[in-house]
């Protein structure tokens, strides 16, 4: 990376991180809401561990994978809404007058998502383990969970950037939230794939990449080190990241031409 690009990314990253940290309305729901659902679901679905073939006797351990995905969904909203606000207030137009590179803009904007992802991952993990969840992969597994969580959060964040650049509207970005929740709910979120009895639901969940992202977390929590599950999880996250960055870069070019 050239010195100029590094400076540009650094400046925007600094602004993005500060903006994220200064908005409790972005951070608090992203931490509290997934933990609340974890508490309710792990209590309400505890009996599911009595189903033959359920992979663990602790539903809390099984469910602990879900907050990491919910946190990543919040990053779509936060990254996208911040950029949409920059578009709505004319800040992006002013940036367009500078020699700022598109790659610097997108990378810098994702810095806030990285910090939020890190904060979320550590919080979910600490709360989950304190509440009694197991971590079969030990301390290195905890680090791997944080790394996977941050990667997924950033990957989903690029989708938020793309939506903001395409629509230029914070309201439109917010309206994406239910769409992403559909992906989460139509996955192996509540039960393992092989215990989903409704055929169509099983088929949809099997084709849903979120099921495999969840499985990557669960492999570390329940089994220990399963290289196949981890590779699949990181691979899907990397693919979403690459596609998201490509789409956001194209949308940025279009928006700057319009400007």
């Amino acid at each position: 990376m050239s010195g100029s690009l590094r400076t540009q990314v650094g400046q925007l990253a600094h602004r993005s991180v500060l903006r994220t940290l200064r908005q409790p309305a972005q951070i608090v729901p992203a931490l509290i809401f997934p933990l609340f659902l974890l508490a309710v679901n792990s209590g309400g679905l505890k009996e599911a561990t009595n189903l033959p073939g359920f992979p663990t006797d602790s539903y809390l351990t099984f469910a602990l994978a879900v907050p990491f995905m919910q946190g990543a969904l919040f990053s779509v909203m936060n990254a996208g809404t911040d950029l949409a606000r920059d578009i709505e207030t004319g800040f992006l137009n002013r940036l367009a007058l500078t020699p700022l590179r598109g790659a610097a803009l997108l990378s810098g904007l994702l810095a806030g998502a990285v910090v939020l992802g890190l904060l979320q991952a550590v919080t979910y993990l600490v709360v989950g383990l304190t509440a009694g969840a197991e971590l079969a992969a030990g301390v290195p597994g905890a680090l791997m969970i944080v790394a996977l969580s941050v990667t997924i959060t950033v990957a989903f964040g690029t989708i938020g950037l793309f939506a903001a650049l395409r629509t230029g509207s914070g309201e439109a970005v917010q309206s994406l939230f239910p769409v992403f929740f559909v992906f989460l709910f139509l996955s192996s979120m509540a039960l393992p794939l092989d215990l989903l009895q409704t055929t169509w639901f099983h088929d949809v969940a099997s084709a849903n990449p979120v099921s495999y992202l969840l499985q990557a977390f669960r492999s570390l929590l329940i089994e220990g080190w399963n290289v196949g599950d981890l590779a699949l999880g990181f691979g899907i996250a990397a693919a979403i990241l690459a596609l998201g960055m490509y789409a956001a870069s194209a949308a940025l070019k279009t928006r700057l031409v319009r400007t």
Partner: protein
């Protein structure tokens, strides 16, 4: 020439209701989530968790789809009220509600109008939800009277939630009060036996669900749909008390809004 007579309670309520219903039906941003969200919860709970019916001790012969239908019906009733509260808050933000306050001779009619609108939008949601559930093969073992009891309970939940949300909206008078309307409703609904019967819950969630009034409503509703009415008197006592209490809360909110001008 005689002075025009001021509009009465009924005329005000109908006027407010008509505008709210019109806004709801003509704006996809309001209509689509109201229809899609309950369906989505129903599909993901009834489809994704159907294996839970095999848990030892789970005894609900009518089937897991019907078991979850009752929860989603009550949830959509509650959220129909909450979303109406969002509309009230938005009316205050835009200044439209202040014009209502100036124009209405009987301001209780304004609240009644919003409540009627909430009921209409919820009935639309229930119709779609019920049709989808039946198409999906939901079994109903209860009689027509039992089903009437189920929808009557849901109606009371809708009224209670509308009054709660209206009270918040008229106090905060901004859409920023949305989480305050939504989160407690969400909390009280999900701290009930959502996925399994109360007898299969254990630990802290069993303790909380045992004293949560929504538990009685859910159990009675599930009793109705399975043709085995359970704890009806308690459920209707709770169902009748909550709207009265929250109507008092809403009336306090109306007084605050009046004082604020």
């Amino acid at each position: 020439m005689s002075e025009p007579r001021p509009a009465g309670f009924r005329a005000i309520a109908l006027a407010v209701a008509w505008r709210s219903i019109h806004n709801f039906l003509t704006n996809p941003a309001f209509l689509v989530p109201a229809l899609v969200f309950p369906l989505f919860f129903f599909v993901s709970f009834a489809g994704g968790l159907s294996g839970i019916a095999n848990v030892p001790g789970f005894d609900f012969p009518t089937g897991y789809t019907a078991f979850q239908f009752v929860f989603v019906l009550l949830q959509s009733a509650a959220f129909g009220g909450v979303f109406t509260g969002f509309g009230i808050a938005r009316d205050f933000e835009t200044g439209f509600a202040q014009r209502y306050l100036l124009a209405a001779s009987n301001r209780n009619g304004i609240v009644a109008g919003y409540a009627f609108a909430a009921l209409v939008r919820t009935v639309i949601t229930w119709t779609v939800l019920t049709v989808v559930a039946l198409v999906a093969g939901m079994q109903i073992d209860g009689s027509g009277i039992d089903l009437f009891g189920l929808y009557a309970l849901a109606l009371l939940v809708n009224l209670a939630a509308t009054m709660w949300a209206a009270g918040v909206a008229m106090r905060v008078r901004s859409i920023q009060g949305g989480p305050l309307m939504q989160f407690p409703t969400f909390l009280v609904l999900f701290l009930a036996p959502v996925y399994v019967p109360l007898s299969l819950l254990s630990g802290w969630i069993h303790a909380v669900a045992s004293v949560n009034p929504v538990t009685a409503l859910l159990e009675a509703g599930r009793g109705f749909i399975s043709g085995d009415p359970t704890a009806i008197a308690l459920a209707f006592a709770i169902g009748a008390t909550l709207p009265v209490l929250f109507a008092l809360w809403a009336r306090g909110g109306l007084r605050r809004a009046e004082a604020a001008g």
